[in-house]
């Protein structure tokens, strides 16, 4: 009767026995299976029936892919812009969020409010934040390309920062029982407690945060591109083409956004496997 929940346990043992490679393969194979199913549904127009939509709004994948093929160079220019924004925003945002979390964890009295305030920034909708940032960064550079990149990166950084902050904060304070006492008996300076205890303890939490931060950075990039001064980017193209009712082209860019997302996800998984290899397996 209680088989289900423990079936997993058994398979866990089984998996532990099987090689690590097989496990890694599963991470790719299972999504690939579902991907194939979706692809077939989509191509055979079954998806259109399910979603009650037509070929116009949801063109066939083959058509989308051939469009990507014939406009590859153009598309890459936009992909580059978006990637720079996403990576820049993620790096700054996650660092910012993590630093605020560290401040909050080491000086809870002062720092905790910082969490709420950073959260408040994340609550200002991108539609409002993006134009404000455009204005605030006008003097950054005389090059429109540069200053609008900076504006977009700031927006992404604020949005992802808030989420990194919330999750890593928990990782920085939910320490193993008595670990803080242990450090106290060594009269470890705050720096050491941070380096040897809090930061390592927070790493699994950081990856949870990244799992959310990566897609939301891409999403924010796409939306903030609508408002950017310099015309470039995947999001901008999606919008232009939807306004022009060019859904095939729009979907081509959406697909590209998804590929970026999946690439980032795989990267994240690989990274987390490497960084968390010494940590007890979760679940």
């Amino acid at each position: 009767m209680s088989a289900e929940v423990y079936k997993k346990k058994k398979s866990l043992y089984a998996r532990a026995k099987s090689s690590k490679k097989a496990q890694a393969a599963g991470t790719i194979i299972f999504p690939a299976i579902l991907g194939a199913v979706i692809f077939i549904l989509w191509q055979s127009q079954g998806l259109h029936k399910i979603l009650n939509t037509d070929l116009f709004i949801l063109p066939l994948p083959t058509k989308i892919i051939s469009l990507i093929g014939s406009n590859f160079a153009d598309i890459m220019v936009n992909v580059k812009t978006t990637l720079i924004e996403v990576i820049g925003g993620l790096v700054f945002g996650c660092l910012l969020g993590y630093l605020v979390a560290i401040a909050a964890a080491s000086k809870p009295n002062i720092g905790k409010g910082g969490l709420a305030v950073l959260g408040a920034f994340a609550s200002v909708p991108v539609v409002a934040l993006a134009p404000v940032m455009n204005n605030w960064t006008k003097d950054v550079s005389s090059e429109a390309e540069v200053r609008s990149m900076v504006a977009k990166i700031i927006v992404i950084a604020l949005i992802t920062g808030a989420n990194m902050c919330l999750n890593s904060y928990r990782g920085l304070i939910n320490l193993p029982p008595y670990a803080e006492d242990l450090m106290a008996t060594y009269a470890a300076k705050k720096k050491w407690v941070l380096l040897k205890l809090r930061i390592p303890n927070s790493l699994p939490y950081v990856f949870v945060a990244l799992k959310i931060a990566v897609p939301s950075a891409i999403m924010t990039a796409i939306v903030s591109e609508y408002f950017a001064e310099y015309i470039s980017g995947v999001g901008r193209e999606i919008r232009e083409n939807i306004v022009l009712a060019q859904y095939t082209t729009a979907w081509a860019y959406i697909m590209i956004a998804c590929v970026i997302g999946v690439g980032a996800y795989i990267l994240l998984m690989v990274l987390s496997k490497a960084v968390l290899k010494n940590y007890p397996k979760q679940g």
């Binding site: 709004i57 001064e229 015309i231 939807i242 306004v243 022009l244 009712a245 095939t248």
Partner: protein
């Protein structure tokens, strides 16, 4: 507050001294070389592209966000503006406006010969074929609304208010005045009396510019666009039926809706007047006006049947049809381009 007025004054004195001597060509060239021509893109840019190409300039322009802040801080020296909207905000000093008064000048697309026609009324061809009387009735009442509105813009502006306009009262009044001009003047500056007329030359010019400057990544769609003719995008029979009617229609569908291209304001005052004055009721229609302005394009909404009629620009309609939709324009409300490129003369001394 005070600094604004000062700049305004210096601006206007500068204008008197030198800018008048510069031709629009000089200004466009100077701005383009500077990389500081602005437009919103998203299908608004073709006239600007045509203009740039007319003077053999590159096709780069800066993206304007919703605001005119870029123009204000001189990061965009030659900014796109609609006469009935942004231009008013730049000039006027009511709440929200930038208060430049007459110190700014502008280049008019109509004068440059690159005008494209904007707001029209359209529906799907299938809908029109199945409901010819409904279409004619709708046109009849809408045009009646527009006629009233262009004659009484102040009242029309107030009517827009009652239907949830989201602009300030002063700006609404300004808009109504300017929209009336667009409805009653053609690209050559001549007065138009038959509102809704689909002027062959102006439409052909619009389509030609669209064909040249709309760039579609989808090669099938691009080929379709190049082969479009006026007959593929408009059908004047409904307008004729409406004009020749006595005002009584045997409508096939009495509950219809129209999706606007943007948020409710005086740009669409004709429909609000028709609704408010009961013109739609008179022809046996129960009309719902659906505000636009968003991410579900009006062409998409009409095409998938969420709404029956829509207001869009001719170029949008052409690209939608090129992409595989089957839409027809049934009336052309704006008879000339509302787009201008506004600049501060002192930037071009």
């Amino acid at each position: 507050g005070s600094s604004k007025e000062e700049t305004t004054q210096t601006g206007s004195s500068a204008e008197q001294s030198s800018a008048a001597e510069l031709s629009s060509e000089d200004i466009i060239k100077a701005a383009a070389e500077n990389g500081s021509v602005g437009n919103w893109g998203l299908g608004n840019e073709y006239e600007v592209l045509a203009l740039l190409s007319k003077y053999d300039l590159g096709s780069d322009y800066l993206s304007q966000d919703f605001t005119m802040d870029g123009f204000d801080d001189d990061s965009i020296t030659l900014a796109s503006a609609m006469t009935y909207n942004e231009l008013g905000l730049v000039k006027n000093d009511y709440d929200g406006g930038y208060g430049y008064g007459d110190s700014v000048e502008y280049i008019d697309m109509n004068d440059e010969g690159v005008a494209m026609l904007e707001d029209n009324i359209f529906c799907t061809e299938d809908f029109a074929k199945e409901n010819p009387n409904t279409v004619a009735a709708f046109l009849y009442a809408s045009l009646k609304g527009w006629e009233y509105a262009v004659e009484n813009p102040e009242e029309a502006a107030e009517i827009c208010y009652t239907y949830g306009s989201s602009v300030s009262a002063e700006h609404q009044a300004y808009m109504a005045e300017e929209v009336a001009k667009l409805v009653t003047t053609d690209t050559q500056g001549e007065t138009v009396t038959d509102i809704g007329n689909m002027d062959e030359d102006a439409m052909q010019q619009t389509l030609d510019i669209a064909k040249e400057y709309i760039s579609l990544d989808d090669s099938d769609a691009d080929a379709a666009l190049q082969s479009l003719t006026l007959d593929d995008i408009r059908d004047s029979s409904y307008l004729e039926a409406a004009k020749s009617s006595d005002g009584t229609f045997d409508v096939e569908k009495s509950e219809v809706s129209i999706q606007l291209k943007w948020l409710p304001d005086a740009q669409f005052m004709g429909y609000y007047v028709a609704l408010d004055k009961g013109y739609y009721k008179e022809v046996g229609l129960d009309v719902e006006i659906v505000a636009g302005g968003g991410d579900i394009a009006e062409t998409t909404a009409v095409n998938n049947g969420t709404v029956d009629f829509g207001v869009t620009w001719v170029s949008n309609l052409a690209s939608a049809n090129a992409g595989g939709m089957n839409l027809v324009e049934v009336a052309q409300i704006f008879q000339r381009s509302g787009l201008v490129l506004v600049y501060k003369p002192e930037n071009f001394e």
